[in-house]
C-alpha cells in the first residue's frame, strides 16, 4: 500500500499532463459514441437521445431496402479501389524515373511543383477544376476542340465522373507519394547496383531486380494503410464536385449520410448508415494493421 502511494506521488505529474487531452477526447470522441444509440431509435429532436423510442434494427432494415443502397456501396468501393491502385502505380513509377535523373536541381524543382496541390484544400482545387473542365469555357475542352472533339461535360456525365475523381485525386496526391517512395529509394545500398553492373545488368534489369524489391516493404506498408480507407472514397472531393445529375455514379456513403442526416434531418437513419461504415472500417483497419505488422514489421507506437 505504501509502495502504491509512493508510486502515485512519483507519477502524478504524468497523469496531470494527460488530463487536458483526456478531457477533450472524452467530450469529442467518447460522448458522441453514446450517440450511436440513435441508430436503434426513431430519433425525435425535441425528445432527445434519452426520450426517443427504440425501434431495434428497423433503421438497418430500412437501409437494406433503400433502392439506391447497392449503387452507393458500389460507387464508394469502385472509386476508392481505383484511387488506391492509381495512388500506388503513379508515384512509384515517377519515383523510379526521378531516381534515374542525375541532376539534383531538376529533381528538387519537380518535387516542389508536384507536391504543391497536396497542401491546397479540395475547395480551392475544385474551384480550379470546375473552371478548367467547364464544357463552355474550360481550357481542356478548348484544347480538345482543336482536335475536333465535341465539348465534354466531365463533371456532369455519369460515365466520366468517377474517372475524373480518380485522376484529380492522383493530381493532388501523387507528389506526396513520390516523396515517400524516393525516401525509400535512397535507403537502397548502392553497392547492389555496382555488383549488378559488373554482372552485366542494364538499367531496366536493375530496376526490376534491385529497385522494386528494395521498395517492397514500403509499398506493402502504404497499401495496407490504404486498405482501411476503402469506405472513405474522398468526401471532400466528391462533395465539392458532384451535383444531382451525377448522384447515380458519384454518391458515396459519406455524401449519402450528409444528405440524409443533415439536410433531411433523418438522424436515426443516417446514424445507422454511419455506424455500419464505422464498424466495417474498424475491421478493415485492424486487419490491415495486423497485416502491416506481420509483413512490413510496422508498429505505430
Amino acid at each position: 500500500m505504501r509502495g502504491l502511494t509512493r508510486m502515485f506521488k512519483k507519477e502524478w505529474p504524468l497523469h496531470m499532463m494527460l488530463l487536458p487531452g483526456l478531457i477533450l477526447v472524452l467530450i469529442f470522441s467518447y460522448i458522441p459514441m453514446v450517440g450511436i444509440m440513435m441508430a436503434f431509435q426513431k430519433y425525435i429532436p425535441n425528445k432527445g437521445l434519452f426520450g426517443s423510442p427504440f425501434i431495434g434494427l428497423k433503421n438497418f432494415r430500412l437501409l437494406m431496402e433503400y433502392p439506391d443502397i447497392g449503387r452507393i456501396f458500389f460507387n464508394t468501393i469502385f472509386i476508392a479501389v481505383m484511387k488506391i491502385i492509381a495512388g500506388l502505380v503513379v508515384p512509384i513509377s515517377i519515383a523510379i524515373l526521378l531516381n534515374e535523373l542525375r541532376r539534383e536541381w531538376v529533381k528538387r524543382t519537380f518535387q516542389t511543383l508536384v507536391y504543391l496541390p497536396h497542401f491546397l484544400s479540395w475547395v480551392l482545387l475544385s474551384g480550379i477544376l470546375i473552371d478548367v473542365l467547364s464544357p463552355s469555357s474550360g481550357i481542356l475542352n478548348q484544347v480538345l476542340g482543336l482536335f475536333g472533339v465535341k465539348p465534354i461535360f466531365f463533371l456532369g456525365s455519369n460515365s466520366w465522373f468517377p474517372y475524373v475523381m480518380v485522376l484529380s485525386d492522383v493530381w493532388k496526391e501523387f507528389g506526396f507519394g513520390t516523396i515517400v517512395y524516393l525516401a525509400a529509394l535512397t535507403n537502397i545500398n548502392p553497392s547492389l547496383y555496382e555488383a549488378a553492373q559488373i554482372d552485366g545488368a542494364g538499367r531496366i534489369k536493375q530496376t526490376f531486380y534491385i529497385t522494386l524489391p528494395g521498395m517492397l516493404p514500403i509499398i506493402v506498408l502504404m497499401l495496407t494503410l490504404s486498405i482501411g480507407n476503402v469506405l472513405n472514397a474522398g468526401f471532400d472531393q466528391i462533395f465539392n464536385l458532384y451535383s444531382p445529375p451525377v448522384y447515380e455514379s458519384a454518391d458515396i456513403i459519406d455524401t449519402f449520410v450528409y444528405r440524409m442526416g443533415i439536410q433531411q434531418a433523418q438522424f436515426g437513419f443516417a446514424t445507422a448508415v454511419g455506424l455500419l461504415k464505422s464498424i466495417v472500417s474498424f475491421i478493415l483497419i485492424t486487419c490491415s494493421y495486423v497485416l502491416a505488422y506481420r509483413v512490413a514489421n510496422y508498429r505505430i507506437f
Binding site: L14, F28, S121
Partner: protein, 266 residues
C-alpha cells in the same frame, strides 16, 4: 499547369477570360479582380475568421500534443498506466460516433456559431501525438536521467530538454496543423448557421462551388454574383491559396523530413 492557368485568368480582363482567350499568360493585364476581392467586407471577414482559427487552434493543439506525448513516451516501468492510456487515445482513430452524434454533441455544448466548434473537436491530433512520442523515445535516456539527478521534475524536463530537442518534429506537426486548419471547410458548413461566422474555405465553398446565396442578405446578392464571375473566382481562389503558396517552398524540407520520420521507423 491548371494552377498557372487560373492565376493567368485572375489577372486578365473579364471579357478576355469569358471569351476563352487566356491560356497560361494574362490577356489585357489588370488587377481589377483583386481590387474587387479586397474591397469586399464578406471576403475579408471570412479571411479573418480563418486567421483567428489557425492561431487559436494551432496553439491549443500543439500544447496538447506536447504534454500528451511526453507521458505516453515513458516505459511501463516509469508510468504503469501508459499502455492503457495509449489505447484510450488510439481507439478514437479507429472508431468514431459518426457525423450526426458529433454534430449533436457540439450543439448541446452550445458551441454552434462559435469559433470553439471549429477548434476543439479536433484539438487532440492523435497521429501527431504518436509521431512525437516516437521522436521522444529516440532521444537518449541519459539526458532525462541527468536532468532528474539535477533535481528537475517531469514538467521541467519536458520543457527544458524534450521540447528544444524535438523542434524539427514540432515544426512538422505544427505546420501540418496550420495547413489543416487553414484548409478545412466542412466543419464551417456543419457548425455555423450564419455566414458571417464562416471561415474562408467554407465561404468560398458556398460562393464559388455551390453558388449558394441563400444565406446572404438580399441587398448583397447582386454583389455576390459579381464576386463569382470568372476572373473574380480565380482571384478569390488565389488569395485563399496565397498563405500556403508563400510558406510552402520554405517549409518543404521540414515536411519531407517529417514524413520520412513518421512513416518509416527503424
Amino acid at each position: 499547369m491548371p494552377i498557372i492557368h487560373i492565376l493567368a485568368i485572375s489577372f486578365s480582363s473579364g471579357t478576355a477570360a469569358s471569351a476563352g482567350k487566356v491560356l497560361l499568360w494574362p490577356v489585357d493585364f489588370t488587377t481589377a479582380a483583386y481590387d474587387n476581392v479586397f474591397g469586399k467586407p464578406e471576403y475579408l471577414r471570412a479571411f479573418w475568421v480563418s486567421v483567428k482559427r489557425v492561431a487559436i487552434g494551432t496553439t491549443i493543439s500543439m500544447l496538447i500534443t506536447i504534454v500528451t506525448a511526453y507521458p505516453l513516451s515513458k516505459d511501463t516501468s516509469q508510468f504503469r498506466l501508459r499502455t492503457w492510456y495509449t489505447w484510450v487515445f488510439v481507439f478514437t482513430i479507429l472508431f468514431s460516433g459518426g457525423l450526426i452524434p458529433m454534430y449533436l454533441t457540439v450543439k448541446s455544448l452550445g458551441m454552434l456559431d462559435t469559433i470553439w466548434a471549429l477548434v476543439l473537436p479536433g484539438a487532440v491530433p492523435v497521429f501527431n501525438v504518436i509521431l512525437l512520442l516516437n521522436f521522444y523515445r529516440n532521444l537518449p535516456k541519459e539526458l532525462e536521467e541527468s536532468s532528474r539527478i539535477d533535481g528537475a521534475g517531469h514538467f521541467t524536463t519536458l520543457w527544458k530538454i524534450y521540447v528544444p530537442l524535438s523542434l524539427p518534429a514540432l515544426a512538422t506537426t505544427g505546420l501540418f496543423t496550420i495547413v489543416g486548419h487553414w484548409n478545412s471547410w466542412f466543419d464551417g458548413i456543419l457548425y455555423m448557421n450564419h455566414p458571417e461566422n464562416y471561415p474562408l474555405q467554407t465561404f468560398l465553398q458556398t460562393i464559388i462551388i455551390k453558388n449558394d446565396f441563400r444565406f446572404i442578405k438580399a441587398e448583397n446578392v447582386e454583389l455576390m454574383i459579381k464576386l463569382s464571375d470568372r476572373t473574380s473566382r480565380a482571384a478569390q481562389i488565389f488569395v485563399a491559396a496565397f498563405p500556403i503558396l508563400i510558406v510552402y517552398p520554405f517549409l518543404q524540407r521540414f515536411f519531407i523530413k517529417g514524413i520520412v520520420m513518421g512513416s518509416v521507423k527503424e
